[in-house]
Symmetry: C2
Subunit: 219 residues, 2 copies
């Protein structure tokens, strides 16, 4: 059990606090497609992703979905423990997108620990701020979706030019091409990667799904 | 100086912690239209609204705006202190929508206090969770904006039936009319109120801007 990998503040916790986290955690293996959490009425607890991939989405009354964020190995989901904070007033669904192994920490235990450890409370705020950033980015995409189109078009064009699906391009270089910022390019590529459109490695972008990129570019 | 009204956890802070908050706070009177914070490069500090009204919005490259939330008396803005948390990776603009009086607490001082007080750190998480809920609600509106139309139409219709701009209707009753939940109605009415379309008092809704409601209903 290597909880320290989930919590950078592990060494700031006391022995009993560490024991409490470890002993309360329940390990669960879930198959792809399993719903781990469904709306705010459900309070499964804090979910730590040991392996696999989870998807958090919201659901309209008519059954439409929007992916809010994805969780990969070492990520933590707070909103599956929404009863921990009464200010969390929205419903997400959390589903395993691949076979996954997770640890679940009961919300009441985590809440007690946050109340006794400022370090853990502050780390929890950082996690929330990080999800908040994902969601703000999503709003910008929804409202002003222009950059995803531009980047998708650019990748298709470069691929045609090089006659290859492997593009040796730094994010900086793409940013310069598109008159954008390196951070914006990196973020969008990360998103394309999470959608299975490309893989991004150091100095190289590999196109996995050209048709998917075309769909974005043409929409 | 009544800081306890901003911080429900005031009594859980030590004497020196309270002194630190009070002595570091800078009072500022701002005129309507003043920009108090502009993007993440700017780190004005934590802003406490003593009176007036602030608007937080994001801005596209093309200058388009979306209001993310509004802040009223006794509200606190964290994101104007984004340098406090490196996980905050988005830019908001904060503007005074009315003449306002605010207190500004330097980000570094607040950060130190959060690190020494679990109570303050947890309260800060609650504030963030509350803004997160606002933003999630906004995404739902943007993606599936149907309920705002339905509620606006309903209010116009009721007003015509009663031949009055004052409607004696509980939120529960409206929810039953529209096949929705009371909470959803209350939230949307709160939003209509913040937009200056209606005023909501116990058991009564007063229409201030019928044209505005029609614009929503017809869009």
């Amino acid at each position: 059990m290597t909880f320290s990998k989930f919590f950078p503040v592990w060494n700031q916790l006391s022995g009993p606090q560490k024991d409490m986290l470890i002993s309360s955690a329940v390990k669960r293996n879930v198959k792809k497609g399993t719903v781990l959490h469904n709306g705010s009425a459900d309070c499964a607890g804090l979910i730590l992703v040991d392996s696999g991939q989870l998807r958090a989405f919201i659901l309209s009354d008519e059954g439409k979905e929007i992916t809010i964020y994805r969780l990969f190995e070492m990520d933590i989901c707070l909103f599956s423990a929404s009863c921990m904070m009464n200010s969390i007033q929205f419903d997400i669904v959390l589903e395993a997108e691949k076979d996954s192994q997770v640890y679940i920490i009961p919300a009441d235990i985590y809440k007690d620990l946050m109340e006794s450890s400022a370090a853990l409370a502050n780390y929890t705020s950082q996690i929330m701020a990080s999800r908040f950033s994902d969601v703000m980015w999503l709003i910008e995409q929804i409202m002003w979706k222009s950059f995803d189109k531009r980047l998708a078009s650019f990748l298709i064009e470069e691929s045609a030019i090089e006659d290859s699906f492997s593009l040796k391009l730094t994010h900086e270089k793409i940013a310069n091409h598109l008159g954008s910022a390196r951070e914006v390019v990196s973020r969008m590529l990360k998103y394309f990667q999470s959608e299975g459109l490309v893989t991004v490695t150091r100095g190289e972008i590999h196109i996995l799904d050209e048709k998917g990129l075309r769909n974005i570019s043409d929409k």
